[in-house]
């Protein structure tokens, strides 16, 4: 809308310029043809001087070029041309005024044509108009807009108007210095209007073109104010001259007509302004409501709200911000956002603010520092928003003191827990060392006397045989047997505690390799007892500790060989398979088996299901098996039936 009016204004100026220039040319044509009607409009009226016509051509061309040279799409050529032409017009005007002042005449006014005597010079008023027009053109052609040019243009319009009105009312011939030709008056008026419209970015036209109530009033009233009184005055004059009424009646009618016309226009315009005003108030109400809403919104936020621009000037904030910071509204306007951040966090917060402006969004945890110096942990968010045409940061800060305290508590608890675990670990390590010392003592101190018992009973048996009777020798044998058994028991116990204490390292282990590495002494015993050993293991690996698995397999095979040897065709089978993520490994025999009610107890230490005379042993072997398997994170179970053999299954993790 505004752009359309703006461009229309430029077109008006251009059209005015063209009209003036062409009119000048037409007047010159009139001189050439000797036509009074062209040069004077009415042969009774004074003609327009040829020089004046030429100057109007220059002025019109200058005005035509002005809009393109200044605010339009034209270049410096148009602008300079307009300027030069304008200067020429001014020069002619000023030169003629100067001649008038000196009382001299000009030989150039007629340009060789011959107007009637007494009317063969450019009148003072025309010279003044030309000087005014030239000055207005020169000033308007400058880049900067100058109010005097507008005033000059308005004066030009008034001047032209005055001349026109005179001719309208009959064109009296008295007061010669104020005369000007009818075409000159018209062209001055047109030039004035064109000049006013030539620079619509400022001056009268800027107001004229706008949407304000004042502009509406101007657009309606001004043309009427220019035209109506003149027209009404003309009607009154005509009526008086026709003798329809006298001077007084004529004046009354004139005044009344003006009153009616202006009153009606004023009423219509006033009514329209009234409606505009109501609409505006309504809009203002809506804006106020919107503002109240946003105020309520930001004041209702749980944290502090802030909106500041790139320079760090606060544009909006909520009441919480003032409450938490202890700053007044006027103080808020003076401070930089970093001033409410604890010194230690400022560098970090500055970085994040920069990030908001470059990347659009960021957040940061930092301490909010109030005016009185108290610092509170806050979580600040920020997003980049466009506000009043500039990039701003809008965000909310939330008090996270409670959360930070909770985290602190968790940290403290963790530290305490770690301390306690460390203390407990140290305690356990001490216990473990104690246990090691104990087992060391067991292995050393318990075995030494045992060796004495065995050694001396052997010596007694050998060297004092003749002094012992058969019963005595039997006693000595029993003593030796008992000591051997005790020695075995100590060794087994040591092996058991070894399994307990030794570090377990889980790695991929192939049970086939473990089985192949069983000591020769084992195989020999298998052969001696006539046991058939069948191995059927899959091509797979288990997650196990090689040494622990060796002990497990050895004990299970030993066990199976021992309890199957009484069978008709003793047979021990070692098998395995992968099931889901597990590796199942079993040792099956066809020996004496056991009652399933002992399935669990069979793994307990010192647990024996048979008498020593039948099957020698200490009852530690299977306990070692269970302990070793458990330490590898696996499980072991036993299945059996009296007289039909037993199966021991070890469950380990499969190593893909």
């Amino acid at each position: 809308m505004a752009t359309t009016r703006f461009n229309a204004s430029l077109r008006i100026a251009e059209a005015a310029g063209m009209f003036v220039a062409l009119a000048g040319v037409v007047v010159l044509g009139g001189w050439a043809l000797g036509s009074d009607y062209v040069t004077s409009v009415n042969p009774d009226w004074m003609p327009t001087m040829p020089l004046t016509a030429v100057t109007f051509v220059l002025a019109g061309t200058s005005l035509f070029l002005l809009p393109r040279g200044t605010v339009g799409q034209g270049g410096p050529v148009q602008r300079l041309s307009a300027l030069v032409l304008g200067a020429a017009v001014a020069a002619v005007g000023v030169w003629r005024l100067a001649l008038h002042a000196l009382g001299a005449s000009s030989p150039w006014d007629t340009l060789g044509f011959t107007p009637p005597p007494g009317e063969d010079f450019m009148p003072v008023l025309t010279a003044l108009g030309l000087a005014l027009a030239g000055a207005a053109l020169v000033v308007t052609a400058r880049r900067v807009l100058h109010p005097p040019a507008q005033v000059a243009a308005a004066l030009l319009l008034v001047l032209g108007w005055l001349g026109l009105a005179r001719y309208l009312y009959g064109g009296d011939t008295s007061g010669v210095p104020f005369l000007m030709s009818m075409p000159a008056a018209l062209l001055f008026a047109v030039l004035g209007v064109g000049l006013i419209f030539a620079r619509p970015e400022g001056g009268f036209v800027q107001i004229w073109n706008s949407d304000t109530a004042g502009a509406i009033l101007l657009r309606r009233l001004l043309p009427t104010a220019f035209l109506v009184p003149v027209l009404v005055g003309w009607l009154r004059l005509m009526g008086e001259r026709a003798g329809w009424y006298g001077l007084e009646t004529g004046l009354a009618v004139f005044a009344m007509s003006n009153v009616i016309v202006f009153a009606s226009i004023a009423w219509r315009t006033g009514a329209r302004l009234h409606r505009e005003d109501l609409r505006r108030r309504e809009a203002e109400g809506a804006v106020a409501m919107e503002r109240d809403f946003s105020n309520a919104l930001i004041d209702g936020l749980p944290g502090v709200f802030y909106l500041y621009n790139r320079e760090g000037r606060f544009l909006r904030w909520n009441r919480n911000f003032e409450r938490v910071s202890g700053l007044s509204a006027s103080e808020m306007l003076r401070i930089h956002p970093l001033e409410v951040i604890a010194a230690a966090d400022q560098a970090r917060v500055r970085e994040r603010i920069e990030e908001v402006f470059t990347r659009g969004v960021s957040d940061v945890e930092a301490a909010f520092r109030a005016k009185d110096g108290t610092e509170t942990p806050y979580f600040f968010t920020g997003i980049r928003v466009e506000f009043r045409g500039e990039s701003c940061l809008a965000g909310v800060g939330i008090d996270i003191a409670e959360r930070v305290r909770a985290e602190e508590r968790v940290r403290e608890l963790n530290a305490d827990l770690e301390r306690r675990v460390a203390a407990r670990t140290a305690e356990l390590e001490a216990k473990n060392r104690e246990l090691e010392t104990f087992t060391y003592s067991v292995s050393h101190d318990l075995k030494a006397p045992l060796r004495g018992i065995d050694g001396y009973s052997r010596l007694l048996e050998e060297e004092h045989q003749e002094r012992l009777d058969e019963e005595g020798r039997r006693f000595v044998r029993a003593v030796r047997q008992a000591s051997q058994q005790m020695g075995q028991l100590i060794d087994d116990l040591l092996a058991y505690s070894q399994v307990e204490r030794r570090e377990v390292r889980l790695a991929p282990v192939d049970p086939r390799e473990v089985l192949a590495s069983l000591p020769e002494i084992c195989r020999e015993e298998i052969r001696e007892r006539g046991v058939e050993l069948v191995v059927d293991l899959p091509d797979a690996r288990a997650r196990a500790d090689a040494q622990a698995l060796t002990q497990v397999l050895r004990n299970l095979v030993d066990n199976a060989v021992k309890f199957s040897s009484a069978a008709q065709a003793p047979r021990v089978e070692v098998g395995g398979r992968v099931e889901d993520d597990r590796y199942l490994l079993w040792v099956r025999d066809n020996g004496i088996g056991f009652d399933m009610k002992f399935a669990e107890r069979i793994f307990d230490i010192f647990q024996r299901l048979h008498r020593v005379e039948e099957y020698p042993g200490t009852g530690v072997g299977l306990a070692i098996v269970r302990k070793a398997v458990e330490r590898m994170g696996g499980r072991v179970r036993a299945e059996g039936e009296p007289g039909r053999g037993a199966t021991f299954t070890v469950e380990l993790l499969h190593q893909p």
Partner: protein, 141 residues
């Protein structure tokens, strides 16, 4: 018959000393067996070697000894000029892995666990004597 090179037995348990001597006696070998009853006595022997006395063909060293324990004796032996080249066989009841490793680290030449069974012990004694006093070559003085 020339007496063979001597053997030094470091052992505190009198029963073990007696049995060891008997075990050696069984084979009727002629090596002299000296006995140190604790770590200090063993270190006293070391002092005599430093004085010029011929060191034994082998030292049989128990680990658990009163006053100065076996591993310490071994360490001092290996640290001394006179004792660093003397073969040392650890002869003890403990089969603990830590002991075995530590003994070798300190420079033991062999580590043998004393069997409880007397026949086996006699066998072990005979093998030690045969190996270290007859088969094993030593530098001459």
């Amino acid at each position: 018959m020339n007496p063979g090179p001597s053997i030094l037995l470091v052992e505190d348990n009198p029963m073990d000393v007696d049995l060891t001597l008997r075990a050696f006696g069984r084979r009727h070998l002629t090596n002299r067996v000296d006995v140190a009853r604790d770590g200090e006595e063993a270190l006293a022997c070391l002092a005599r070697w430093e004085g010029g006395e011929a060191p034994p063909a082998v030292v049989l060293l128990d680990l658990k000894l009163p006053r100065v324990d076996g591993l310490e004796v071994l360490r001092r032996l290996r640290a001394s000029e006179a004792g660093k080249a003397v073969p040392v066989v650890v002869l003890t009841t403990s089969g603990e892995n830590v002991d075995v490793r530590r003994a070798y680290e300190l420079g033991a030449n062999s580590y043998i666990i004393k069997p409880v069974n007397f026949e086996k012990f006699v066998e072990v004694a005979a093998q030690i004597e045969l190996y270290w006093t007859v088969l094993n070559a030593r530098p001459t003085a």
